[in-house]
């Protein structure tokens, strides 16, 4: 998968910044997407295109447990978030939704805003097509891959019952 990177050289980007609580009366991806990242970068909605990536530093998605953060990102077209590390509930929600959250060391230092990236999930590689560089990431845990292949946690449970 190929896309443009939106780089935020910032730690602790929290779920209040990703989707402020004032918009939580909706759980529709397309509605939430209109306000995604609003309190961090009001221009994000204008910039983001389908298939893009967000690149950040440590502890991405900290704060509230709202799964709306994943839905808002996905609704806006974001295909994956690549960060040094993720907050636990955000990471869990990503796995449960089959949304890509990739842990890659120092990624925000290596990638510039607007670089074009290509992610190879199975081999654990990120190619920077703009800078002609390649970075490795820790492949997803086996359980996460299984959930993703099933299309999320509920599908996985449904299949297990059969």
């Amino acid at each position: 998968m190929k896309g443009i990177a939106h780089v935020y050289k910032k730690d602790d980007i929290n779920t209040d910044e990703i989707i402020p609580a004032r918009y939580l009366t909706s759980d529709k991806e397309e509605e939430l997407a209109k306000q995604v990242m609003e309190d961090l970068d009001v221009n994000f909605v204008k910039k983001v295109k389908k298939g893009d990536f967000i690149v950040a530093k440590e502890n991405f998605g900290c704060g509230s447990s709202r799964e709306h953060a994943i839905w808002a990102l996905r609704g806006s077209g974001v295909r994956a978030v690549i960060a040094n590390s993720f907050a636990r509930i955000f990471y869990r929600n990503a796995i449960n939704n089959g949304f890509l959250a990739i842990e890659c060391k120092d990624i925000a230092k290596k990638v510039n805003d607007k670089d074009e990236l290509e992610i190879e999930v199975k081999s654990g590689k990120i190619k920077n097509l703009t800078k002609k560089e390649e970075y490795n990431f820790t492949p997803l845990p086996k359980f996460a891959v299984e959930l993703m292949e099933a299309g999320g946690l509920l599908n996985y449970i449904e299949e297990a019952k059969k």
Binding site: N14, D16, A21, D27, S85, I89, N97, L153, L154, E158
Partner: protein, 422 residues
Amino acid sequence: MGMTITEKILAKHSGKDSVKPGELINADIDLIMCHDVTTTPAIDMLEKKSMDKVFDPEKVVVTPDHFVPNKDIKSAEMVARIRRWAKKHKIKKFYDIGKHGVCHAILPEQGHVTPGSTIIAGDSHTCTHGALGAFSTGVGSTDVAAALYSGKLWFKVPETIKFVINGKMPKGVYSKDIILKIISDIGVDGALYKAMEFSGSTIKDLSVEARMTITNMAIEAGGKSGIIEPDEKTIEYVKSRTKEKFEIVKSDEDANYEKIIKYDASKFEPMVAFPDLPSNGKAIKEAEKANIKVDQAYLGSCTNGRIEDLRIAAKILKGHKVKEGTRMLIVPATTDVWNQAMGEGLFKIFSEAGAAISTPTCGACLGGHMGILAKGERCISTTNRNFVGRMGSPESEVYLASPAVVAASAIEGKIADPRRYL
């Protein structure tokens, strides 16, 4: 090798003799708490997949609280939907208006939390209930759906960091100051994915409710859970609220900890966490030097909206007035707390001081309603998060502190040391 309290609870609930950190388990869930914001998506998911069932209605507690009493038509629709769903599935433990309150204050108060149990909810501050010796953690809506349907949930067994806090706390220092100090020391990701176990003589000396303030904020250090071994106080607290049987689980002497961090409580001071992270803590002397004028003082939330918190604030506010130009909001966390505060005459003190008293709600803590901040405004608050835009405008500021600091700051109209009033 022995196990920690967290490992023991998770082993027992996944049918194993022992578990190790990093191990993936599927654990039985004893209690699922559902609130207005994260439950409707879970109901949607289950209905769409024809998985619309609840594994055991007795193990579900519903507490609409975030935008309650309904702040607008959309939030009214959400709660109406949850009411219909609960009725359909015969969920009786439903805390509707009249019995309502902030979920994490209601759960232990009404006897739904028992030591040794597993609790999940679609709310990050679910870690609060570890104060009673339960494994309790916040999850997303998909997890809530999965647990409602199957009664089970997957977990990676966390490593545990042990915090040993000994000694007598100085006057004017409360459990909120302990946790703000810890988060400031280890950072907002200092306990990422980990269980935080709090122990030592200082913790034992705290009331059960004061302990909840500490475990409540484990998530603010990235923790998966916060936990305190049950003692006589816990047992008394729980037994006075429920007839349910429970098992006391404690950590083994030779349990393995990722880290042990020790504190001398006699050195603690009142703390204030500056914007925009709970880890930006400063001791009150330094905070006062910054001369921070406050437009609003907020007392409430699952962190500090219990009766003890209101009593502390009342003690400080008695005979004083909230400074002209500062608004003070008092939000008792539950209906029982509200009634108790009224019975004890605390409302008269608050009202005479010029503070406004609200019905229980999560309200302004998360920027929902009932006390939203305008651009450029500052709030000193007993809540747990001071992220950008948390209580309103992205250009407002939130400072976190104990009920004592909030009350003293309301009197002076700027961040103030409560020890002058004690």
